[in-house]
Symmetry: none
């Protein structure tokens, strides 16, 4: 649904909407038992919510597409992730809590190995340790470029973040990573005329970095990808009329919330801390995005039992949220992370929504099979936000 259509229908009232995102929520059946993590977990409060509410399965980006955290969350916030794209450099900056500003240009960097002829022999420099990466970044931070500040910060292993800060920096620069071995790194090439000055700055940076890295084998060169600036996303306040707040521990999710104009609150590490933060600020906002990460992490570890335990942990906050009497309560995932795959996946994601007007279905438990047969069927994740607004009676009629 075009955001302009929604914007014209929005009306304000004093309803409260809660969106609890259980990262990597969906799973796959354990081959031994035939039960998914959600089916195995003892999640009585989520099951009760499913019995009281309306269930379905969300498709984050498209059938078959595994979304990253960015697209997965933007969809749940109501933004078509195929239309509203966030560059890899910006996501990297959000992920390490870098204080990215509107004029900044961010790039994801990889340290790599080149041979004596300058040809790439390892695109990840043997996956050097994060400590080595940090030392190398410190060495590169001293690089001077005309008219701009340079920031080089470690991310993890061979990955780092490069940020240039100054006036007139432009997007539209191709990756320097040729994505193949045996080739030299590519120059930073402007794809638009207005990006030519920026490309020269980046090539200057790379040339200086190459000299400084010459004796740092295996990390004797670097590659840049996803050169990008802060994307100009419409804010949730403007489009949806919501005074939205994020309660999230990890920088990536706090950053994504900032992109769409949410206030980001400080909070403790545990899900009970996040609940306390919501309780404390219940009067101050009308849309609460709560993020729970452990399910995704344990799924990525390939640890079925630990993901089951994480689901049981997040289940424990449902009564506390319901006690606040939100007008709309939704539990969703940004994507599936089946422990069987030990990674994020393309599978659709369980979803439940409760409101006084939700039109409940026959789902009695919160899991993949029950949600699949739920009243919402399988539907695009971008419809979550409009459905929430409707159930909060915040959307007027389309057409007279």
């Amino acid at each position: 649904m075009d955001l302009e259509v929604i914007r014209e229908l929005v009306v304000k009232n004093d309803s409260k909407i809660v969106l609890l995102v259980i990262d990597g929520l969906g799973g796959l059946p354990n081959p031994e038992t035939g039960r998914s993590e959600l089916e195995e977990a003892n999640t009585i409060h989520l099951d009760r919510l499913a019995a009281d509410g309306l269930c379905g399965m969300t498709v984050p980006v498209g059938l078959g597409i595994t979304p990253g955290s960015g697209p997965g969350h933007l969809a749940l916030f109501g933004y078509d992730p195929l239309k509203y794209r966030v560059g890899r450099g910006v996501l990297e900056a959000l992920g390490i809590d870098f204080d990215l500003r509107k004029e900044d240009l961010a790039a994801r960097g990889n340290f790599c190995t080149i041979d004596s002829q300058g040809l790439i022999t390892d695109r990840r420099a043997g996956r050097i340790s994060t400590e080595t990466c940090a030392a190398l970044c410190e060495g590169l931070s001293g690089i001077k470029l005309p008219g701009v500040q340079v920031f080089v910060q470690p991310v993890r292993e061979h990955r780092f973040l490069l940020v240039l800060r100054g006036e007139g920096l432009a997007e539209g620069i191709a990756d320097t990573d040729p994505q193949r071995l045996g080739m030299p790194p590519l120059p930073a090439q402007a794809q638009l005329p207005e990006a030519e000055a920026t490309a020269r700055l980046l090539n200057d940076f790379v040339a200086q970095a190459r000299k400084r890295l010459a004796d740092k084998h295996p990390a004797n060169m670097l590659l840049l990808r996803g050169v990008s600036k802060w994307p100009d996303l419409p804010h949730m306040g403007d489009v949806f009329g919501l005074n939205a707040v994020a309660v999230a521990v990890y920088p990536m999710y706090r950053g994504l919330a900032k992109l769409v104009g949410m206030t980001v609150l400080p909070t403790g590490m545990a899900i009970q801390d996040e609940l306390a933060t919501v309780q404390e600020h219940w009067q101050d906002f009308d849309f609460f995005f709560i993020h729970y990460k452990t399910t995704d992490s344990r799924g990525e570890d390939g640890d079925y039992d630990a993901k089951v335990a994480a689901l049981e942990e997040v289940d424990s906050v449902i009564p506390g949220i319901r006690d606040l009497s939100p007008d709309v309560l939704m539990v969703a995932g940004d994507h599936s992370t089946p422990s069987l795959l030990a990674g994020q996946s393309w599978h659709s994601v369980p979803f439940v929504m409760w409101s006084r007007w939700c039109r409940t279905d026959r789902a009695e438990t919160f899991d993949e099979n029950a949600c699949r047969a739920g009243g919402l069927g399988t539907f695009p994740a971008t419809a979550v936000l409009p459905l929430a607004l409707a159930n909060a009676q915040r959307l007027t009629k389309y057409g007279a």
Copy 2:
């Protein structure tokens, strides 16, 4: 999903994907028994596949739209049939195995009857026999046009194929068939400036043909439709990274496979011959399109029992395919051909996919009712290919 989005996500591996297309797969309940052809047929291997796999119903083009073979197959190959169109002339050429080249211009021709004032009295010339059509085509093959070669080949009854071969031939020419009786055939009119020379050639052909046909009543004139050139479809290798092969008996399906860059193998007439061809070439390709036609033909005949028998015949090759241990096995239809309608129809089409990661559902049989309640629900046929790539772990994450 835009093919450019998919193309950027594709990674290669040594997985193998099989797509068995059962032409005209879907049906309608027999009014006497209430059971569709699939429900009546004893298809234990397809039922087993449905029990092991993930089921759904595909919508080939759109709800309510009956697809021809071209759109029906292009959708299953991952191409939006509303975006990627194949002209009728080209489809006609593919259907009779004409060796169409990139520079050729193809048109579907109909012999028709005109009266002494040149007005059309029968748009199909009384459906002359295919033998008569062949003789007439031979007569027209001698027509000479400046700078181009002329090919006129019979198709069936009053239908024939016209191909002009030469440099500079252009699409963008209106049909000469006014689609009404009592009117004269229209001139071949250029709809684009660059098609004017081609239109003159076609009008020259029609004028010469009219003289040669003058004494051939009822086939004393001809009409041209769907003037078109080989469409420039992106190839499956380029977009999906697949080394794809087609095992199909009928020219139309072999031709459609060629349009998207598949290799086309010679094979025998029976489905067991097609299986043998797949077995023989199992190491040579990573995507196998197998086409089975009889279900559609018996549906078109309106012969319920014969369609049931054809379903049981194609069922027999499933174990042979599964023995090859494909990473992804899919059974689909290009459209429904209910014997009750004795023709192709708009109804959604049963679909089943098996992979190690498919997330099986509760479908226990392969038929319209079971697939409708399957885990994929009712979904666009263009999602079949992305889902196959995902299940073969050939797609990387969208967004970081």
